[in-house]
């Protein structure tokens, strides 16, 4: 079996952002459920938080291909 062990590093780096993105959207759903009229405001904030949390996973993906 052959492959690149850096991909395992990507798997590890995806754990944190995965949990983080889950928490962000859980909070977003909670907020909308409690106060449906705040959806517009919350959506922007949720997407922004999602983008920032996702950055770490993207770093992991890129570095997995950079370090051969």
């Amino acid at each position: 079996m052959e492959g690149n062990i850096a991909i395992l590093g990507y798997g590890l780096s995806a754990i944190g952002p995965g949990v983080g993105i889950g928490l962000i959207f859980a909070a977003y759903i909670n907020g909308v459920a409690r106060q449906p009229e705040a959806r517009g405001v919350l959506q922007g904030i949720a997407i922004l938080g999602f983008a920032l949390a996702e950055a770490l996973a993207i770093f992991g993906l890129v570095l997995a291909f950079v370090f051969k």
Partner: protein, 270 residues
């Protein structure tokens, strides 16, 4: 590799001739059409040129004879413009000086959206932004602009001072100044470019894997593998739809973050 031939099919054919299945690699994304090496006209370049021509044609055609009761094309253009103008620019930058940045944000949004959607539109099927050079160019634009508007508003020294949140105890400055400078000059542009690139690259790679893998299992595999090949194609369909969502989301996020950075440079105080 010709423009209208699906990269996936010729790749799978090459894989079929060998001793087994070759998983797609990042090298698959380098597809020169004319020339090779540092100076070559590549497939993403052509796709980008097509997208620019297409956007220009569409926007001009739908707004040249603008009617009070909009037709279908005008409706699409108006909604896209409204989305960026009100949903992104006005909400983030604020109603005082957002109008200046609407042309930039709107053209950036349209360019990224169309180029991303080209990743799943059949005759083209190549997301331009999966080559790192294109997101870097867009990010460089955003980087220069958000520093330029900050310097124009506060002066060069004021702009630097503006990055540091006021009202902190003196001792913590040792820690906060390097961190804030790192955020403004390294992390922001790096993540902005890499996010777009990484999403497009990984998504396209996933589609490539499922489609070439499904083709290989269906044609060259035994009975059990043929069943798995059908499943693989099914996954490819589902993921294509999912990619459409991601592609729209990434165009939105890029525009949103660009607006956020500009707003951060323009803000009066923290």
């Amino acid at each position: 590799m010709s423009l209208n031939v699906l990269g996936a099919i010729s790749l799978a054919a090459e894989g079929g001739e060998g001793e087994g299945f070759h998983a797609p690699t990042p090298a698959e994304f380098y597809q020169p059409l004319i020339g090779h090496g540092d100076f070559a006209i590549t497939r993403p370049m052509v796709v980008l040129a097509i997208s620019v021509a297409l956007i220009a044609w569409f926007l001009v055609a739908t707004t040249k004879r603008a009617a009070v009761v909009p037709g279908k094309g005008q409706w699409v253009t108006e909604n896209a413009y409204n989305f960026v103008r009100n949903g992104v620019a006005r909400d983030i930058i604020g109603s005082h000086d957002f109008l200046k940045f609407v042309p930039l944000l709107f053209s950036m949004f349209m360019l990224i959206l169309v180029n991303n959607l080209f990743g799943i539109i059949p005759p083209i099927q190549y997301p331009t932004m999966s080559r790192i050079g294109f997101p870097i160019a867009l990010t460089l634009l955003v980087f220069v602009i958000y520093h330029a508007v900050g310097i124009k508003k506060n002066g060069a020294w004021g702009h630097i001072k503006h990055m540091i949140p006021p009202g902190l105890p003196k001792g913590i400055y040792v820690l906060i100044i390097p961190l804030e400078l790192l955020t403004y000059f390294v992390t922001r542009p790096l993540t902005l470019a890499l996010r777009l690139f990484g999403n497009m690259f990984a998504g396209h790679m996933l589609l490539l894997l499922f489609i070439t893998g499904g083709e290989y299992m269906l044609i060259h595999g035994g009975l059990g593998l043929k069943v798995a090949g059908v499943g693989s194609f099914g996954m490819a369909f589902v993921l294509t739809a999912f990619e459409g969502l991601i592609e729209f989301l990434q165009a939105y996020i890029f525009t949103l973050l660009a607006a956020t950075y500009i707003a951060g440079s323009l803000a009066d105080e923290h």
